[in-house]
């Protein structure tokens, strides 16, 4: 497994090079001049535009620009953005908030999703099962921004239980509802996935064996049934961490959270590619690493899958 992990890590390098090049290439090729509209009502002077172009090396060929990007990245210097503010500082301010939001969302998905799935799977056809099946169907059919605006309006504006927007420090208590919104789709899917595998495995031969061995009902369910039924749900949750990060852009926009999503959102609006490129690259990196971790976790959870 160690050798497998190292091989997979080495495979990340060409993938990262390819994706970051594509990101660089694509953002700098977008139409429109990022500097032309930065001077308020009047047009920017040519001298300013050319000075900025020179500073950000936009007058160089794309390969040279990419080389600069790589060199800066490896030396840990992300430079400044178009407003001459350090990119690294902005990232350092925004990341912790998004990570907090994403981890809370993952916790929601894992705890609520799996618990709901197990309960409805064990009591198939019962009242609780129907409630869970219908509510997950509802969650699955609503896009995140709809769920977000509805909850914001209902809980924040109408009932005033929460602040409709999150303060700049983004304490955990204010992130509960945004995290739930962010988690909602995956949560519903996790619950359904868990339910299906519980229902399927309940009639399996090894569960019957466990009963025939004289194990208590509790032990049959909690040890023999759960251990097998959680494999698909856990791997699903793992692979979805990456997409959760990009989903955060919408959620952070709705609740005005100053995380990575908000940063990326405003950077795209301002055509400030000095932010867009490193943030997107980081999202790619997170996606790749979580996928690798899930593949390794899968081998641990299911001994039938072995890596040479």
């Amino acid at each position: 497994m160690g050798r497998y992990a190292i091989r997979r890590l080495l495979q990340l390098i060409p993938v990262l090079l390819g994706t970051t090049f594509l990101i660089n290439f694509m953002v700098w090729q977008l139409p429109g001049d990022p500097f032309a509209a930065r001077c308020g009502q009047r047009a920017c002077p040519d001298s300013y535009i050319s000075a900025m172009r020179e500073q950000f090396a936009l007058d160089q060929p794309i390969l040279v620009q990419y080389w600069h990007f790589l060199k800066n990245l490896l030396s840990g210097d992300l430079g400044v953005n178009f407003n001459q503010v350090s990119v690294a500082t902005q990232l350092a301010d925004a990341w912790p908030i998004t990570i907090r939001l994403a981890l809370m969302a993952v916790a929601f998905e894992a705890i609520v999703g799996i618990a709901a799935g197990v309960l409805s799977g064990l009591k198939r056809g019962g009242f609780l099962d129907n409630v869970i099946t219908i509510s997950t169907l509802l969650m699955l059919s609503l896009p995140v921004f709809v769920t977000g605006f509805i909850l914001q309006w209902l809980l924040g504006v109408q009932l005033q239980w929460i602040n409709p927007t999150v303060s700049p420090e983004a304490p955990l208590s204010e992130l509960v509802i945004p995290a739930f919104v962010l988690a909602s789709l995956n949560l519903a899917f996790t619950a359904r996935l868990t339910r299906t595998s519980i229902v399927e495995n309940r009639r399996s031969d090894y569960v019957r064996t466990a009963i025939a061995k004289g194990m208590t009902n509790k032990r049959v369910v909690a040890v023999h049934l759960l251990r097998n039924s959680l494999i698909p749900a856990l791997t699903f949750l793992g692979t979805e961490v990456g997409s959760l990060m990009s989903g955060a852009i919408v959620t952070e926009g709705i609740f005005n959270i100053h995380g990575i999503g908000g940063l990326l959102f405003s950077a795209i609006n301002n055509q400030d590619f000095t932010i867009v490129v490193p943030v997107t690259s980081l999202l790619v990196l997170i996606y790749l690493v979580t996928n690798l971790l899930v593949d390794l976790l899968y081998g641990v959870l299911d001994p039938r899958i072995r890596y040479e």
Binding site: D205, T209, A210, A212, R227, P303, R304
Partner: protein
């Protein structure tokens, strides 16, 4: 916690056999109707005795075993009547908690397909050790030692090195040995083997049967061997119960059954075994299909396929006629079957 029932020596109820199934009825309620899988089955097994239950798929032999074990899926299954006495106590009347303690301790079971019957995500040693940890409250280390001893006893080579391997890393025969090791872990008094060799190839089948017979001799267990394979039964069984359509159609000591069957179904089964001296001739096969449990034939369930069929067979369910002390046949014309055989 270990002994929940009176010792067999002290119990004087019933006929006194270790395990008795009496007039058991099991139904399955499905959307298309009620399937009567078991219709009044009675059999018993004593310590050190081997009962072979013979029958084709759907004859109710496995459902009876699952009902004894208490692992029948209820619903759709439903126990419609009868009694299952273990050491004189009716298991069907015991609360679930008491019943659970008998599983593994008093009556244990091995299944046809060991690959699916073993849990794929736990090491085999862990699964055997679980018996000692849960039933006997042993520590993990002690239980693992016992597991290795058991794996040695069922002759798994290099048991110590393989105790942490997973089921998929073993061959079919070895997996069935692990299943057996797990079932005999707590020295049960009755072992039910539900088609233990069906999924294995012929040479391995013989080894597994030998192992079962040996373990039975060593610990004086009662063994219920469920099979559809007459060849498997001959060497190990003491007595045979033949099942058809959820009923027992013939009871006999093993050699008498092979020599002189008293039911047309048994006779048909015996004649459909390939024989060396009849090489080149067409093999006999029982005509027709097993009965549909949702629409059982009237009278004798076997009559649509029976060469001895007469009007009485269509209208009247044959009772189980006692022929001699240990022999019985559920055929109106058992005498003719017996005579025909003697010709």
């Amino acid at each position: 916690m270990i002994e929940v029932l009176p010792e067999s020596a002290g119990s004087g109820t019933g006929s006194g056999a270790l395990l008795e199934v009496e007039n058991l009825h099991v139904e399955f309620h499905t959307r298309t109707g009620v399937a009567k899988a078991v219709n009044g089955v009675t059999y018993s097994v004593d310590a050190g005795e081997t009962l072979a239950v013979l029958g084709e798929s759907g004859s109710g032999k496995s459902v009876t075993a699952q009902t004894i074990m208490g692992i029948l899926d209820i619903p759709p299954g439903k126990i419609a009547g009868g009694a299952i006495r273990f050491r004189g106590v009716d298991l069907l009347k015991l609360p679930e908690d008491e019943r659970r303690k008998i599983r593994g301790e008093g009556i244990a079971m091995i299944f046809q397909d060991a690959l699916s019957a073993l849990n794929p995500v736990f090491p085999v040693g862990w699964q055997i050790a679980e018996m000692f940890r849960i039933h006997r409250g042993m520590s993990r280390a002690d239980a693992k030692k016992k597991a290795i001893e058991l794996m040695d006893r069922v002759r798994i080579p290099a048991a110590k090195d393989r105790v942490n391997d997973f089921p998929h890393q073993f061959s079919g025969g070895m997996r069935q040995r692990i299943m057996i090791a797990m079932s005999i872990a707590l020295d049960p008094e009755v072992l039910i083997a539900d088609e233990p060799t069906t999924a294995l190839d012929v040479t391995v089948q013989a080894q597994i049967m030998e192992l079962l017979a040996e373990l039975q001799r060593d610990s004086n267990m009662g063994l219920i061997l469920i099979t559809h394979d007459l060849g498997v039964v001959a060497d190990v069984a003491d007595k045979i119960a033949v099942m058809y359509g959820g009923r027992i159609v013939e009871n006999a000591p093993v050699h008498e059954l092979y020599r002189n069957p008293t039911h047309p179904y048994t006779k048909g089964l015996l004649e459909s075994i390939p024989r060396v001296d009849l090489k080149g001739q067409e093999l006999y096969a029982i005509k027709g299909m097993p009965p549909n449990l949702l629409q059982m034939p009237t009278g004798c369930a076997f009559h649509p396929r029976c060469p001895y069929k007469q009007e009485k067979c269509v209208s009247e369910v044959p009772p189980l006629h006692t022929i001699s002390g240990t022999r019985s046949s559920a055929c109106h014309f058992w005498r003719e079957v017996l005579d025909g055989d003697a010709q």
